[in-house]
Amino acid sequence: MAGKIKQMIDAFVNQRAQGNSVLEGVVKIKLILKGIDPKIYTPESADDPAIIAKLEELMKEFK
């Protein structure tokens, strides 16, 4: 399977930023500092279970 990480990153950025472009930038920087660089993931990127688990945890925490 491929592309799940990009989908999750997009969903995470939307969840946090709610369409605010400044916040979108901040959320992406936070992801980069965690070691997840949004720009390297595409719809063709392999589904790395470790990254997917990390993103699932992040989405759960920001409630």
Binding site: I29, L33, D37, F62
Partner: protein
């Protein structure tokens, strides 16, 4: 005037606190932030500041040099007072053991402001973090804060005048080491942030392919020993490369804006940094530019965005301070802040969104 600054270079703690109290006069202080040289006993200072301003919340930290309106200082105490017209609401919490979870502080904020951290509006609230500068925990704490809230936390790592023995944070009459102070403020006025670093990116990329993240150690760049790859990017030898650390750090580039990571030392084939970097992240080699003109431009931009500035808290990296001292331009840096009520200090690390080096992060109030 709803924000007022004061400073003292008196060596006796009681005299210094009284000096600040006198300068603030009958100002109705609701919140007092202060930074002090490590030459001043932290416990006694925290206690006396609290006693001198009984109706205010007080917090601050030890430094490696202080900044106040128009001046860079050493061996002093600088303070910024806010009245009720400046700050509607505030809550100060201490993380008194950085090895433990920070949930207790977040729960306290949620109770105080009566809303979940995740629902707090980053335009309405701002966070300040002051953290032990020798703890090495800045990334961890900033990461956890960022997981729970969109409120921006800005701040600095406490210093000890380059002794590198013990740094302190102060809150409500007490001093703490291996600790952090977190504060959330609800200012009455608009506020903004300055993040300025005097570097331009070069066309040299260093991908972190192996790192010991908890030690802030990079073992490999581009699948080569880190020390060798960094020296090659500079076009010099490994032995000579430490001479370039100050002027050629590396940075995570986001839309052209670098989040600087400063090399500390070569350790065998690897490199130690003052800031952690995760595996898989691409770094860019940087080259220094002019601190005075870059900072001046950043301040002018902030003033033009906000219309006017009523106060600045400046968290200025000690490596920038050392460069200013080395070039004999510390006074010129201080003078950039002559027109703005300012306090700040020379930090062992700067925080804004994350943890970084060789940067000045500033909280600016309209």
């Amino acid at each position: 005037m709803n924000i007022k600054t004061a400073f003292s270079v008196k060596t006796d703690i009681q005299d210094a606190v009284q000096d600040i109290q006198t300068q603030l006069g009958d100002f109705k202080t609701k919140l007092l932030i202060f930074f002090a040289s490590s030459t001043i006993d932290p416990g006694e200072l925290a206690e006396r500041m609290e006693a001198a301003f009984p109706s205010a919340e007080t917090f601050g930290c030890s430094t490696a040099g202080e900044i106040v309106t128009g001046k860079m200082l050493t061996n002093s105490v600088v303070a910024m007072a806010f009245n009720r017209q400046a700050i509607k609401n505030s809550k100060v919490e201490v993380l008194d053991d950085l090895n433990k979870e920070s949930h207790r502080a977040f729960n306290a904020f949620e109770r105080h402001f009566d809303k979940p951290m995740s629902k707090m509006d980053p335009k309405q609230y701002v966070g300040i973090i002051l953290i032990d500068g020798l703890s090495g925990k800045e990334e961890l704490i900033m990461d956890r804060i960022g997981d729970f809230t969109n409120v921006n936390f800005i701040g600095g790592s406490a210093g000890d005048d380059l002794k590198f023995k013990e740094t302190y944070v102060y809150a409500n009459g007490k001093s703490y080491t291996n600790a952090a102070v977190l504060a959330i403020l609800e200012p009455s006025t608009e506020f903004s942030f300055v993040k300025t670093q005097s570097f331009r990116p070069l066309q040299k990329k260093l991908l972190v392919t192996k790192a010991n993240e908890s030690n802030r150690e990079i073992l490999e760049f581009n699948h080569k020993p880190a020390a060798q790859a960094y020296a090659e990017a500079l076009g010099t030898t490994v032995a000579d490369s430490p001479n370039h650390f100050m002027h050629n750090p590396v940075g995570i580039l986001f839309e052209g804006d670098p989040f600087v990571r400063s090399p500390q030392q070569i350790k065998g084939d690897s490199m130690l940094f003052y800031c952690g970097v995760k595996e898989g992240i691409e770094l860019t080699l940087l080259e220094s530019t002019d601190i005075i003109s870059d900072t001046k431009n950043a301040l002018e931009k902030a003033r033009s965005e906000l219309g006017s500035i009523s106060g600045i808290i400046n968290f200025n990296c000690i490596l920038r301070t050392l460069e200013l001292r080395e070039k004999g331009i510390s006074a010129a840096y201080g003078e950039l802040f002559t027109d703005y009520p300012t306090i700040g200090f020379s930090t062992y690390g700067e925080q804004f969104i994350g943890h970084m080096n060789q940067t000045a992060t500033m909280l600016v109030f309209r």
